[in-house]
Amino acid sequence: MPTDIGSLLIQLFSGLSRSMMLFLVASGLSLIFGVMNILNFAHASLWLLGGYLTFSLYQAFCSAFGQHGLLLLPAIVVATLFMFAVGWLIERVLIRRMYARELPEQLLLTFALILIISDLIKLIWGVQNRRIFLPIEPVEALGAYINPYLFVVIGCGFGVAAGLWFFLHRTRYGKIVRAAVHSREMVGALGIRIPTIYAGVFALGVAIAAFSAGVFLPIVPIGLGLDMDLIVQCFAVVVIGGFGSILGTFVASLIVGIVYSFSVLIWPGGALAIIFLILVAVLILRPWGLFGTEMRF
């Protein structure tokens, strides 16, 4: 194993980038479950749809204004807003009918959503992978090369984490959301419209997913099936962190990303196994996750 500080730091940055990729997708999943008690199995499919939408918007903007990497920013913003609306609509039309149902029925509905979204993507975009080409050139640092876009991903991850913290702890709406996590009946008794809260939270979760898909597009080509790979990792993160805990999801993402990165360096054959060993250990010793609460469990 290399011991020079440059190699280790670069491995750390690659782990951090992986952590933030996981956090950006898993945070919405955790938020939705935390507030609404809905296991949204289709979360990564909505992430994928957001990615395709960002791709098309970017193409359209480039056709209208000429090829420029910065056009990715408005494409991400518009796609995020659109997916917020899509999330709202899905909650109003489908998800709200599931609140009183058992978990298997929720899973069936969200699994059906996966199939619908997958076929929708095939019909609109086909089966070819899509990606956005940005002329990213590696930079030399610490005696090695590194992809500078990793810092964009890391920055976005920390930014969304800070934004979510601010929203949940410093805004009235956020405080209502947190109160709803603990007692939706009490919040309802205070005259606050719980259905609106739920729709907003679901839409926010979907919007964060769409935002992250746009951020990943310059380094991760999106394609059918990617959602299924991602959702498994996201569930692992959310289980380790504790369902419903954004802080837990953040810490679990850091653990998973960094441990995975160094495992690749030390024991590449077992990198994935180590993550799932952590998951098993958490499930045995603290089934409600590192930052979850026994009450919710």
């Binding site: 190699s7 690659s14 090695a144 090369y145 991760v220 690749v264």
Partner: protein, 437 residues
Amino acid sequence: MSGDERKDWGRSIEIMSRGVSRRDFIITSIAAGVLTMVPRFTGAQAGEPYRIGVLLPTTGSGANYSERPIKILPLVAAQINARGGFLGKHPIELYFRDTQTKPDVGAREARSLILNDKVKTIIGTWSSAVAMAVQEIIHEHKVLHLTATSNSSKIVHENFTPYTFMFGPDTRMQSGATVVAVAKLIKEKGWKKYATIGLDYEWGRDAQKVFVENLKAASPGTELMKELWAKLGETDFTSYITAVMSLKPDFLFGAIAGKDNETFLQQAKAAGLFKSVSYPGVFLPVTELMQQRQTLPRGIIGLNRCPFFAHMDNPIMQNYVKIYQEKFGKDDYPDDFACMYADSLNALDQAVTKASTVETEAIRKALTGATVDTCRGKLPLRDCNNQLDAPSYVGEVVDTPDYPFPIFNPKTMIMVQGHEVWVPTCDEVRRLQKKRT
């Protein structure tokens, strides 16, 4: 063909060009059926249709490599059907199924195709693990199986069945071709140590193992520093790329394919991997050359299985490109997989003609050890394992004025013939093959 039928067919092809869904599969099958019915009504000696199942994934890592085979197979079938089908009286009907790159789904669909749709031949699939699951089913039901994309050497060795025919180079031949090129580079550049990265599943493990074994024989002094394994469907190779760079090998061998290959190449380029580590022998089928035209680093040494640009002097290849571009436009070309699967269908046609019957056993015997006319020239199928003497192509990625995407440098491209790198003797092949009942 009537105008309406022509319109139906055109619509199905248009849909396939956008992507293939379950609904499209049904439409495709119906359209193929409609098309193939025409000679039945017009021909003087109409016979039973010949049903062929096509098992390819339209989701998962392999979807990228399945799109063009799915597009070209109905076109080749239509050409055969234009003269009445097999033997002029058995029109081909194609039944498409999505394997989802899952062995259980592949096996289930294969069984359904055989029992419900009564297919006599199955073409496919992408994943070797799925292909081997399908082999169990086709062997049980004695149905022909033509494969090209899935190319683990186990398909024609450990898991051999006399009903499976391989129309592309297997992993052993492909890795052998890479070794020929890499051994040359080792001498030229004085490389001493290397690392490998592969997808952690049947094909990746097999391709890596064969490469390492062959390189050890060809260049015993070259040290393998580390083997890295990424899961199939990996979205973030960053940790692997930085790990490789910190190991500082002279070169890296990759056994990555499909969507994952595209992801890896894109992330590796942005991370500067190719600035510090050579990456010879990366699998770069025409699919990747077209899709990654902007990002693919020029000058890297790639490997492919059936590039159309290497055989544009062959009338069969000219025909594939012509019929494909007539339907899908001048900017699109049939990729390696489309050409190999088109070859498999044409080879079946040749075998049926030779056998003068559509009976499976007679066709199998006719195909075993036959020399077939392909887009890569006249090539024999090895009689001990049904492996086509298919070449592999190793070359430097360069831009040319002839195509809107990079190709392999025609001046320096190495074409390694299958028989140069396959298991040398049939006795050795038979020792590897398991005994089946």
